[in-house]
């Protein structure tokens, strides 16, 4: 699957950055950050994507760290978090991760990997810019169709499905946590809360989140057998 992903373009909008100052590749909330990197955007890759990304040589000047999500049977889903400060000038551009290729959206999938809808690709956009997304592509309905059409011949692996399901769950929990802080007039307060949630790994420590994440994983294990 991942070799195919890296040979494909999912959204064709070569000049879109001109009208938004490359919103997707810049940290527009950086000015409010106290701890998280003011300049970087974080790109998550599951290990099987990371292997293909690395084999192709990756992108220059990007640093990375690893995060493991452990389930009740001690199996782990490994994520690589790439910290990108290239501001849209990444090189080589055709090595950019899946999340960049499908921006501004992220597929919402069922356990079989069928796409049920689209979420926003960035966590912060699902929370703070939910109602007014600065990416011009979100104003074009044909972009959604183009993306869905181009994703049709990609058969998601069980790990990818699990990662997408967990991303959806994470967004739901983040929205709940941030809900009372959402106030367009005080973005600084919302971002501070967002930062604290991340620093303290709050969602991943939430017992209900862990329970639901495990339920998703167990259903997938039943459906696909061992896949982690």
């Amino acid at each position: 699957m991942w070799n195919k992903v890296y040979e494909k373009e999912f959204i064709f909008a070569p000049e879109c950055y001109k009208s938004c100052n490359s919103y997707c590749c810049n940290n527009f909330f950086g000015e409010y950050f106290s701890f998280l990197d003011k300049e970087a955007v974080i790109l998550p890759l599951i290990d099987e994507e990371y292997e293909v990304y690395k084999k192709r040589g990756g992108i220059k000047n990007i640093t990375e760290t690893k995060k493991e999500i452990t389930f009740n049977d001690n199996k782990k889903l490994t994520l690589y978090l790439l910290k990108c400060k290239e501001h849209g000038l990444c090189s080589p551009h055709n090595n950019r991760p899946f999340i960049c290729r499908i921006y501004p959206y992220l597929p919402k999938v069922d356990l079989e990997g069928n796409i049920e809808g689209l979420l926003y690709a960035s966590l912060i956009d699902n929370i703070i810019e939910k109602n007014y997304h600065p990416c011009p592509l979100t104003k074009q309905n044909d972009i959604k169709e183009e993306l869905l059409n181009n994703l049709k011949d990609i058969k998601f692996t069980p790990k990818t499905i699990l990662a997408l399901k967990l991303a959806e769950l994470l967004i739901i929990y983040l929205q709940k946590e941030i809900k009372e802080f959402i106030n367009e007039k005080n973005k600084a307060l919302v971002i501070k809360k967002f930062e604290k949630i991340f620093l303290g790994n709050k969602i991943f420590k939430n017992e209900q989140f862990k329970k639901e994440a495990n339920e998703i994983y167990m259903k997938m294990k039943k459906r696909y057998g061992e896949f982690l």
């Binding site: 106290s34 990197d37 978090l81 910290k83 604290k196 949630i197 991340f198 620093l199 303290g200 790994n201």
Partner: protein
């Protein structure tokens, strides 16, 4: 409360808080230096450090109650986790 012995096992090695931070740091760090501000530790490494220390000391940090600024130096972390 009696202070804990500072050294503990970290990734198979006996290491102190200071050594863990210094291992992750991109440059030398002083005891009371804010390592985030100085750029010695980046945000993702800081999250990793916090997670490791929470597991090792079996103490969860609630950032709704603790200002993160208090934990961005070796001194601050030692004080929070009550080690020498």
């Amino acid at each position: 409360m009696e202070k804990l012995i500072e050294n503990f096992i970290y990734k198979g090695q006996i290491m102190s808080i200071e050594e863990i931070i210094k291992q992750k740091a991109k440059k030398e760090i002083l005891e009371d230096e804010n390592f985030i501000e100085s750029g010695a530790i980046d945000s993702l490494s800081f999250i990793e450090i916090i997670e490791e220390l929470e597991n090792r000391f079996n103490k969860t940090i609630d950032f709704d109650k603790v200002e993160p600024e208090k934990l961005t130096s070796i001194k601050g972390l030692k004080e929070y986790f009550n080690v020498e």
